[in-house]
Amino acid sequence: MAEITQHDIVIIGGGGAGLRAAIAVAETYPDLDVGMVSKVYPMRSHTVSAEGGAAGVIKPGDSLEDHIRDTISGSDWLADQDAVEAFVREAPRELTQLEHWGCPWSREPDGSVAVRPFGGMGIQRTWFAADKTGFHMLHTLFQTSLKYARITRYDEWFASRLLVEDGRCQGVVALELRTGEVRGILGKAVILCTGGFGRIFPFTTNAAIKTGDGLGLAYRAGVPLKDMEFVQYHPTGLPGTGILITEAARGEGGILVNKHGDRYLRHYDLGEPLDLGDPRHPLFRTMELGPRDRLSQAFVHEQELGNVFEAPDGAYVHLDIRHLGEKTIDQKIPFVRELAKNYVGIDPVHQPIPVRPVVHYMMGGIDTDLEAATSLPGLFAAGECACVSINGANRLGSNSLPELLVFGARAGRGAAEWAREHPESSRAALEQQADVEEARIRDFRGGDGGTERIASIRADLQAAMESGCGIYRTEATLRAAAESIAELRERFRSMRLDDHSLAFNTELTGALELDLMIEIAEALVHSALQREESRGSHQRLDFPTRDDERFLKHSLAYRTEGVPRIEHRDVVITRWPPAERVYGRAHEAGAAERGT
């Protein structure tokens, strides 16, 4: 029999979003108690590896309107404009709040926070803490959360199933890694903050824990996954490991060159390169400061033209920051130097860094409204696992960290209000569900008779995703991927574990993750199949143009017993009608317009 514990609110995930939500509850309703379940100690969450920064309008000369416009055009008009507005309005306040909690933001000489340029943004508005922004944000949030006695943590507990009764989400079943114990953790409201799922691809900047568990849990509980087809490739990952070289390297003036030394971005409608000595370099929304989708796509074309370096770990181009000089590099982007030295053996002060596009961020996620509520009453979601949506078809760099804060806080407050209004219901039924889940996990662990190793199924899944849903897709590649996934689902049924023990069984959690990864990979592929257009990061060679007529819509994937059912919902357009998405040229025109 699974043991049961009870909280007012259960938060799954101790990353930026989860911690922000927990603090929001503790601050607004100190009488409520929070259980925070995380499969790793909170400060290990993936938010820790975000490097570049967090966007928020604070400087004179910048305006909310501009941030909104950059975000919407960056999203290729697939973002909901009411959501973007709310986000942009609240981001500065949230970032300031984090400052008050002790985040060591980099500063101007006068003591105000400093901002830096970032891809796709029309002005310097990205707050940063050197190039360890996510690290500092996460540690600040975690340390701040420690002062609230009513936050109870379940560190290294793996959430494997949502408890749904009376049409409401009322808790979660989780496995304690240390003991192997399975427990029902009840809450009148549940918030999913489980982060992204880059690990369904083989080559990603994402940490090992980013397997998308929360999406799988929600999907299985009947909540739709939104805009899953939009996968962001970051143009500058290190070959081999996929470790990210932050966009800040380009924000500070780094340039991309192909094997002929050509700044090839000029050929892809991203504007004309400025001389490196030109004080205007790097120019906003131009060349290297274009959006990620366009830069990654340019790489593929260069590769087809044979203009890139070939190597066993994959083709690459050069990111050159030598002209910044040792001092700037050590001051502004020291981590870039450290990573390049360690993982490719190159000191960027003297040599260009090899880089290639790498899966980085998932625009899609659990469908939520502006208050972070999902369609399942009592279930909320925030952070990278959610899709509100502000990122549409392509997220702008440095919008995700503030998103965690804004919607994490909203989710916390929303869940708290919900919890105050809704009493706990039939505990017996919940207990019974927990027992069923406990038995399922026991079976997983026992796993006799099977032959398939989870590592090989996972590798095949990742390979299928890469060949089927890469930077460019066609109906044929997507169908092939869908078929592979269906096969993998079968193979998973006959998986077997080497490890049958209770204590810290990471093979077991690996299997639980893989089970959910297969689900969301399937949702992704089928969402991509139905979107017969090219928009933002979703590029279909068989449908090369944007089609607002048919697809200015979100796709919603619902789980069924067969293939996912895909529905559509109109994008919320308020004041910014769809337009062509232009960089380089547009910036110059736009700047002239605004008289800057």
Binding site: R178, T179, G180, S501, A503
Partner: protein, 127 residues
């Protein structure tokens, strides 16, 4: 099932890795400093007693045993000086604005002071 294996404590940890061995030697330098101070005090007492008492003690100091002791003591004293200077910037992180004053500068200043004092001692004693 949780049955953690308790943490292990070693009674010989200070022999296990070079940094620990150096640490223990560094600490033991104090023993030699103290012993040497004893010898110095005896010498001073002999000086106060007069030249013949002093003469006798100089004879003793010329024995290989004393010479060996002083050689070892000197090595330990130098180990103490080097490690002590190394530690100074740790406790005193001087800063000029954003930039930290290079620890090497502070360490260097200590060596300079030591050199100056050594010269002073020699001048006072020998001149």
């Amino acid at each position: 099932m949780a049955r953690p294996y308790p943490r292990e404590r070693s009674n010989a940890w200070f022999l296990e890795r070079w940094p620990y061995r150096v640490f223990v030697l560094r600490e033991l330098s104090a023993l030699f400093l103290a012993l040497y101070m004893g010898v110095l005090l005896v010498l001073a007492a002999r000086v106060h007693e007069g030249s013949s008492a002093f003469r006798d003690y100089v004879d003793a100091l010329q024995s290989p045993l004393y010479l060996a002791f002083h050689a070892v003591a000197l090595l330990f004293a130098l180990l103490h000086s080097v490690t002590w200077f190394q530690a100074v910037p740790k406790g005193l992180p001087l800063r000029r604005g954003e930039q930290r004053v290079a620890p090497a500068l502070l360490i260097g200043a200590n060596y300079v002071a030591m050199l100056a004092l050594t010269v002073l001692v020699l001048v006072v004693v020998l001149s």
